[in-house]
């Protein structure tokens, strides 16, 4: 891909052709404030915070503006500063001031942008403050939706559409009454939402926030145990408990994405009823046993049932390699082709 040279605030940078000004800036380590942009999604240009001035005359939105060789961009032009500041002030004036107790305190994009723009308490005092009072949607077992914090950036809508192809949510109503809604404004749990939580991790504020998670003390890189896809996960650990799961962006298998089980189904790990040893039936009751004990029993019993009377059913939760071994074992050791898999349709 060929490169072009553009100038941002007097700084010449190289940019890949076909990228936008915002992308080019980010790739060169320059920060242009933005809210509705997400690297995984097509730019929407709705928050208007990434506004810049192009070639000294035109106000443009950097997330949608394609780079052109010789382009001169200003992010600090007085007109740009004014539009950006007013836009962020409007958002803040319509946002709850509950930062200290907010889930996203310190990771909130609105906070970051407001801080960058330099909003002072007196600036906000000029405005008529109002916070929307739509009841929270707590129907989903894994995450809540708080409309009062929603800045209508549309990242969740685009995630559900572009990445997940589910389209469980979209804009409803119009003007100030606009809100993110399911079809017919039903609770999320009753919609076609699959609770993958992809929107939740991308929400720049705490409009979508997971239930019952705590900030981890450290993160441990691992592989999700649920299925053979083998998504990379970052397990959030606090003490000896797992308190959160994030998709591993560096893992080539899932590139950060997770499904509902991988993201929210981690409670079994510390569950008291979790099986930690094999169980062997003795006198009609299942009792805990060692692996040697269990394997000895299997060997003793299986050897009596070789041939067509044996069949094996393999699981999608194990890896390809393990599935290969099961069919090898069934055919070569047990001497039958009676092998099947739970994911076979």
């Amino acid at each position: 891909m060929s490169e072009v040279t553009i100038t941002i605030d007097g700084l010449e940078i190289k940019a890949r052709e076909g990228t936008t000004v915002l992308q080019a800036a980010q790739e060169n380590g320059l920060y242009i404030p933005n809210l509705c942009n997400h690297p995984d999604l097509d730019p929407a240009g709705l928050c208007r915070v990434c506004v810049v001035k192009m070639d000294d005359w035109k106000i443009a939105i950097s997330c949608k503006l394609p780079v052109k060789d010789g382009m001169v961009i200003s992010t600090e032009d007085p007109e740009v500063q004014q539009i950006r500041k007013n836009t962020v002030e409007l958002l803040v004036a319509n946002h709850p001031m509950t930062c200290l107790t907010c889930e996203r305190d310190s990771t909130c994009e609105l906070q970051k942008v407001a801080h960058y723009v330099g909003i002072k308490p007196d600036d906000i005092k000029r405005y008529r403050r109002s916070v929307r009072s739509i009841p929270m949607d707590t129907s989903n077992p894994f995450f809540d939706m708080d409309h009062s914090k929603c800045i209508l950036c549309g990242i969740c809508v685009r995630t559900c559409d572009e990445l997940q192809n589910i389209n469980a949510i979209n804009y409803a109503q119009r003007g100030v009454a606009s809100l993110i809604s399911t079809l017919g404004n039903k609770p999320i749990a009753e919609s076609r939402c699959e609770s993958c939580g992809e929107c939740v991790v991308r929400c720049p504020v705490a409009a979508l926030s997971p239930k019952n998670t705590m900030e981890p003390m450290r993160q441990v890189k691992s592989i999700c145990t649920y299925c053979g896809v083998g998504c990379g996960v970052m397990l959030g650990v606090r003490g000896d408990q797992i308190v959160s799961v994030e998709g591993d962006y560096d893992n080539p298998v899932n590139q950060g994405s997770l499904c509902v089980k991988g993201r929210y189904g981690y409670k079994f790990i510390n569950h008291p009823e979790r099986l930690k040893t094999p169980l062997v039936r003795k006198n009609g009751e299942l009792v805990e046993a060692t692996w040697d004990e269990a394997l000895d029993q299997i060997e003793a019993k299986f050897s009596k049932h070789k041939g067509e009377k044996f069949a094996a059913l393999a699981s999608a939760r194990i890896t390809n390699e393990d599935n290969y071994l099961i069919q090898k074992f069934t055919r070569a050791v047990m001497g039958t082709n009676n092998i099947d898999h739970c994911a076979r349709l």
């Binding site: 208007r48 939105i61 503006l65 004036a93 008529r128 209508l152 119009r174 003007g175």
Partner: protein, 646 residues
């Protein structure tokens, strides 16, 4: 003869045939069947006229004219004449005798004076301000300064019968281009005419058509924007109701120029009459082979569908409109984006113009680009259509050459302010426009001059306001409109219009702060610069222009808690002048909250703690007394009075 037209040359024969047929009718009563006059009872007048003519033994059936029979008199409906204030209107051809406010009981007089006495019914004629009567339509001051091109057919032809349109040279422009002009030549004519988009933006039509022609992808579409949404505006509605065939012909010419196969007319569902007339017009045009497959035997196909919009103002924006036709949420696409002429309806090249823009085209083709260019000004050629409303004597629909001064429209055509009122401001361009004061009344009407004054041409709404109008309240009204109609996708428009509205609400209630004026200006500029589409970019115009020209009024509201025009309820009180009150009791009888006390022939008083400032007493007090006065700031209600109430 009344059959499908199979070649462009047959079109001329058809025209002559229809012309001759209508000429056989010696006298024709044209009854306005625009929405306003229908509401006033014009259809009953029309039926009564037909009945009376039939009783005289005349054949009123139009079909007989086409069979070669002569007729002494006939009646016909027509589109909106424009002078809605004086409706229902009846015009008698060929003399153009113009009757106003016609009731069913007037019909016998009209018939006998016209057919037997060859005179006129004086009481129904328009009365000039000097007391004389105007007999013919062109004698009425409302009409004689107008130049009617796009409205020419409205009020003169029956919109539900295509043969009327044929008789006034309809579809000869289409025949002419099929016979003589290549698509490029048609685009050249449109370019040379200087026609600019009449939706309000004023983009040169020729350039848009050229872009549509140059676009490579197929199929291409022609879309007619009839999503007229400005409060008080009904220009497009009148054209669609009064002369739908002109719009269809203009669209077909556009389709031929850019090579489109399909067209869509986007019209609001709130215009049921326009929808019905368009449906009839399309069916008839197809029957005569001037629309549909193999038009005029040339092999060119073009079909038009009607799409009924659900009434969102923002769907008048071209990209939101195309998305709405696709069945998606009507939200403008975010720039930078390709032009609609490249990526429009169903992501295909789409030529989108306003109703009036298309309606001009047949005339331009027939009469030449130079003819059109000669009307109006250098940069804005042709005419402008306005819906005159508000505090004006003659409200209605007018068409004037570009370059005419606001003063001429308001005082000569509109007849000035009624009831001896004083002019205060004029608002053009609907909610996106601005309010201009008396000092700017000599501003010529054209795209650039209005822009310079802080307003816009818009699609043609013109609201006139008298001295009893509060400009802060006006700004608040328009902001309320844009705030409700914002699609909500971008922050500056969604939250900016809301914030502006709340500040204006506070100022109107006497809760304005001194820093609000700066904040209004600051926010207005940011909403203008930051918004995605035209709706947001122009939403603050009413605020900016009223602040520019009527700043003192804002200051009075904020610093003195005073509404100089006496409009903002929370800043005014009504009082009765003891010396003027004659104790007629009219005010007391009409007060809805019984706040006025006083015996007959005794001075009345208003209990301020009960008064709700509805102004009924002010309106009811006879002019000869004028004892009720509106005062601002508000008279404080003493705590004692409050206690008595509780």
């Amino acid at each position: 003869m009344l059959q499908r037209i199979n070649s462009p040359s047959e079109m001329v024969e058809m025209r002559d045939f229809c012309k001759a047929a209508f000429a056989r009718q010696k006298v024709r009563f044209l009854v306005c069947a625009g929405t306003g006059c229908i509401a006033g009872g014009s259809m009953e007048v029309y039926e009564e006229l037909k009945r009376h003519i039939a009783e005289r033994g005349e054949d009123v059936d139009v079909e007989l004219l086409f069979e070669g029979k002569d007729s002494e008199a006939g009646a016909s409906i027509s589109g909106c004449h424009g002078f809605c204030q004086m409706g229902p209107l009846v015009r008698v051809e060929p003399k153009s005798t113009f009757y106003t406010k016609v009731k069913v009981k007037d019909v016998p007089d009209i018939i006998t004076t016209t057919l037997d006495e060859d005179s006129v019914v004086e009481r129904l004629l328009f009365k000039n301000p000097d007391g004389s009567h105007a007999v013919a339509e062109h004698d009425v001051p409302f009409y004689n300064r107008q130049t009617r091109i796009v409205l020419a057919g409205c009020g003169t032809i029956d919109p539900e019968d295509i043969r009327n349109y044929f008789a006034v040279d309809g579809y000869t422009a289409l025949a002419q281009i099929f016979a003589d002009h290549s698509p490029e030549e048609v685009i050249d004519i449109v370019t040379q005419s200087g026609l600019r988009g009449r939706g309000g933006g004023g983009f040169p039509a020729g350039r848009k058509w050229k872009a549509g022609y140059d676009a490579k992808a197929t199929p291409k579409y022609v879309v007619c924007n009839g999503d007229e949404g400005d409060p008080g505006a009904f220009m497009d509605r009148s054209v669609l109701e009064g002369n739908p065939q002109a719009v269809l012909e203009g669209m077909t010419i556009a389709a031929y120029s850019i090579g489109a196969r399909y067209g869509v007319i986007y019209v609001r569902a709130e215009y049921p009459l326009a929808v019905v007339r368009l449906q009839k017009a399309i069916a008839q045009a197809k029957e005569f082979g001037v629309l549909g497959e193999n038009i005029m035997g040339t092999g060119f196909d073009f079909d038009i569908d009607i799409f009924q919009g659900a009434g969102a103002f923002v769907c008048g924006e071209s990209t939101a409109l195309t998305l709405s036709i696709e069945g998606k949420r009507g939200m403008p696409r975010v720039a930078p984006r390709p032009r609609t002429t490249e990526v429009g309806l169903y992501d295909k090249p789409t030529l989108l113009n306003n109703v009036k823009t298309f309606a001009y085209v047949p005339d331009i083709i027939r009469k030449s680009a130079d003819w059109f260019k000669a009307i109006g000004t250098e940069s804005s050629s042709g005419t402008a259509v306005f819906a005159l409303t508000g505090h004006i004597k003659n409200s209605g629909l007018i068409e004037v050459p570009m370059g005419i001064k606001l003063r001429e429209i308001i005082f000569d055509i509109g007849g000035g302010i009624p009831k001896g009122g004083k002019f205060k401001a004029v608002q053009t361009g609907g909610p996106s426009g601005g309010c201009l004061p008396e000092s700017l009344l000599d501003t010529p009407i054209d795209y650039d001059s209005l822009d310079e004054a802080g307003s816009i041409m818009g699609s043609g709404g013109m609201v006139i306001m008298n001295e009893r109008t509060c400009m802060v309240d006006v700004a608040r009204y328009f902001l309320q409109f844009t705030e409700e109609e914002s699609c909500g996708q971008c922050v500056p428009c969604r939250l900016g219009t809301k914030q502006l509205l709340e500040i204006l609400n506070d100022i109107c209630r006497g809760r304005g702060k001194k820093e609000d004026l700066d904040l209004l200006v600051e926010l207005s500029h940011s909403v203008h610069g930051g918004s995605v589409c035209g709706l947001g970019q122009t939403a603050a115009n009413p605020v900016l222009t009223t602040l520019r020209y009527f700043k003192a009024e804002y200051e009075a509201h904020i610093y003195d808690k005073c509404c100089p025009a006496g409009v903002c309820k929370e800043l005014i009180s009504f009082v009765i002048d003891e010396e003027k009150c004659k104790g007629c009791m009219l005010c007391a009888k009409n007060c809805p909250v019984d706040a006025i006390s006083g015996e007959k022939k005794q001075v009345h008083t208003i209990d301020q703690s009960l008064c709700i400032q509805c102004g009924v007493c002010f309106d009811k007090c006879p002019n000869k007394f004028s004892a009720v006065e509106c005062v601002s700031p508000k008279i404080p209600v003493t705590p004692k009075e409050k206690m008595e109430v509780s």
